[in-house]
């Protein structure tokens, strides 16, 4: 197995851990969407390795861990990664701040898709705090980007595909 793939899987494992890690009640609603953030980075950095398929599968696992109906997070995550996949070259050259703004809208899209599905099924959350992860996620983006980039440079393959 190539080391890029291992790094991706490991980082996703950590992202899932952060997603289900118990937090005190007052921060729970601010928890960023780690899995989406990490996948966005990899879809940008390694578009040939990490794409729609992986995003969809990761989304399914999110559904299972959230006890949501199957396909809810998968759909949102997959569409976000699809957009990143199409625009990865533009995103790569953007500054961190510009990236963060784009990421904000991508995360918002995912939250909205998940919210719509919840609404159709009949238990949409009724608080604006629901959109907090979008903001915290976008704010954390520069750090996530830098950390994952350093990890990729240190442990990934020389050829960045």
């Amino acid at each position: 197995m190539e080391s890029n793939f291992k790094v991706v899987v490991l980082s996703l494992f950590v992202a899932f851990m952060l997603t289900i890690m118990p937090l005190p009640d007052w921060v729970v609603e601010f928890r960023p969407d780690w899995v989406t953030l990490v996948l966005i980075y990899w879809a940008m950095a390694l578009p040939a390795r990490v794409g729609v398929t992986m995003a969809w599968l990761a989304g399914l696992m999110l559904d299972v861990s959230h006890g949501a109906i199957l396909g809810q997070h998968a759909l949102g995550l997959m569409l976000v990664i699809y957009i990143v996949h199409l625009q990865h070259q533009r995103l790569r050259v953007a500054s961190l701040i510009q990236q963060a703004i784009v990421i904000f809208f991508l995360l918002l899209l995912k939250q909205l898709i998940v919210l719509w599905v919840s609404g159709i099924v009949g238990h949409a959350p009724v608080t604006w705090l629901y959109f907090m992860p979008t903001i915290t996620g976008a704010m954390l983006w520069p750090w996530i980007y830098i950390i994952l980039r350093d990890i990729r440079r240190k442990f990934g393959d020389r050829v960045n595909y």
Partner: protein, 338 residues
């Protein structure tokens, strides 16, 4: 080496396919709930993550146990012994009462009340969706847990299992917005349904008419209608009644008795409809091997249940017509798939 042209279908095509599959999955999952196998398989992948996340907490408890001083342990031991003695004495009495109750019921050729099987499960310390009230338990289909199985803690009904995997299961708490449990006021026998509100501190009682005999402080017990929850387990206590004459029904709130957000151990209950298949290994009252701390919790639950049963049956035998006119909507405990 990287080839110049990537193989496989284009991202757009794959995206379209996945959108269609997602929509199909969601429809199937929502309408027919036939995707347990898929969920089960994926949960195997998720299990290591849950295990690793729960590990520090487990280590903490382990450390607490190993590092506590002998004096602490002795103190605790003595306390527990005292407690056990007390509960045992009470149980003796209840045992006799239960037998008597059974006999009387048989005399009246009423359906005998059988006791339920229990198994202790631990809540795995993982957070899921902050807007849903789900907990993950460390018992799954390997321990014969089943979908729709009620779970209780030492104080009352907590919820029911909604997804069963091999080693873990996900349970929905009674406070979840899509949960409802059929209840009965133990003082009057008035039946109702307690709906979850998304808040852990209160449930909603709907469709209660203005003239209903209901007071703040009344205890709600599970009525057993809907045949998912066993009868006579305490559920909640009424905390607020708002009689707005403009409304058709009064607005009643009840606080769940179970410690929904602090319990670490819960009990899985096997009801009469779902007998535990294996011969009984877990005899709650008199098994020496079990951890003592959990034991008194278990006992008090059993005791509570038996107590309730006795009271209830007495009531039924002696003054049956006291029951309120039937106003409550009788419905299934919850649409568990959601």
């Amino acid at each position: 080496m990287q080839t110049l042209f990537l193989q496989g279908p284009s991202a757009t095509l794959r995206m379209t396919i996945f959108v269609i599959i997602s929509l199909a999955l969601m429809t199937i999952d929502h309408r027919w709930q036939h995707l347990d196998a898929v969920r089960n398989t994926l949960s195997y992948l998720l299990y290591p993550v849950e295990y690793v996340v729960d590990l520090p907490i487990r280590l903490y408890y382990w450390g607490e146990e190993t590092l506590s001083t002998q004096q602490d342990l002795l103190d605790e031991n003595r306390q527990l012994r005292d407690l056990q003695l007390q509960t045992r004495v009470q149980l003796q009495k209840l045992d006799i009462l239960e037998k008597e109750n059974d006999r009387l019921r048989r005399l009246l050729s009423a359906t005998p009340k059988t006791t339920e099987d229990h198994l202790i499960a631990e809540i795995i310390a993982v957070d899921v969706d902050p807007y849903r009230h789900f907990i993950v338990l460390n018992k799954g289909s390997n321990d014969d847990a089943y979908k729709g199985q009620p779970i209780i803690d030492a104080h009352g009904v907590m919820g029911q299992i909604v997804y069963v995997n091999a080693m873990t299961s996900t349970a929905m708490l009674i406070s979840d917005v899509s949960h409802a449990i059929p209840v009965q006021i133990d003082r009057t026998g008035l039946r109702s349904v307690a709906f979850g509100t998304g808040q852990t501190d209160y449930l909603d009682l709907r469709h209660i008419p203005h003239n209903a005999d209901i007071r703040v402080g009344d205890k709600l017990i599970s009525s057993g209608l809907g045949e998912r929850f066993p009868r006579n387990y305490p559920v909640a206590i009424i905390t607020k009644i708002n009689r707005d004459t403009g409304e058709t029904f009064i607005d009643v709130r009840a606080e769940p008795l179970a410690q929904l957000d602090t319990s670490r151990e819960v009990l899985l209950v096997w009801t009469q409809n779902h007998e535990k298949p294996t011969p009984e290994l877990e005899q709650p009252a008199e098994e020496p091997g079990k951890e003592t701390v959990e034991k008194d919790a278990e006992e008090s639950v059993v005791k509570d249940a038996v107590e309730k049963a006795v009271e209830e049956s007495d009531k039924e035998v002696v003054k049956e017509p006291v029951e309120e006119p039937e106003t409550a909507v009788i419905m299934e405990p919850a649409n568990s798939g959601e």
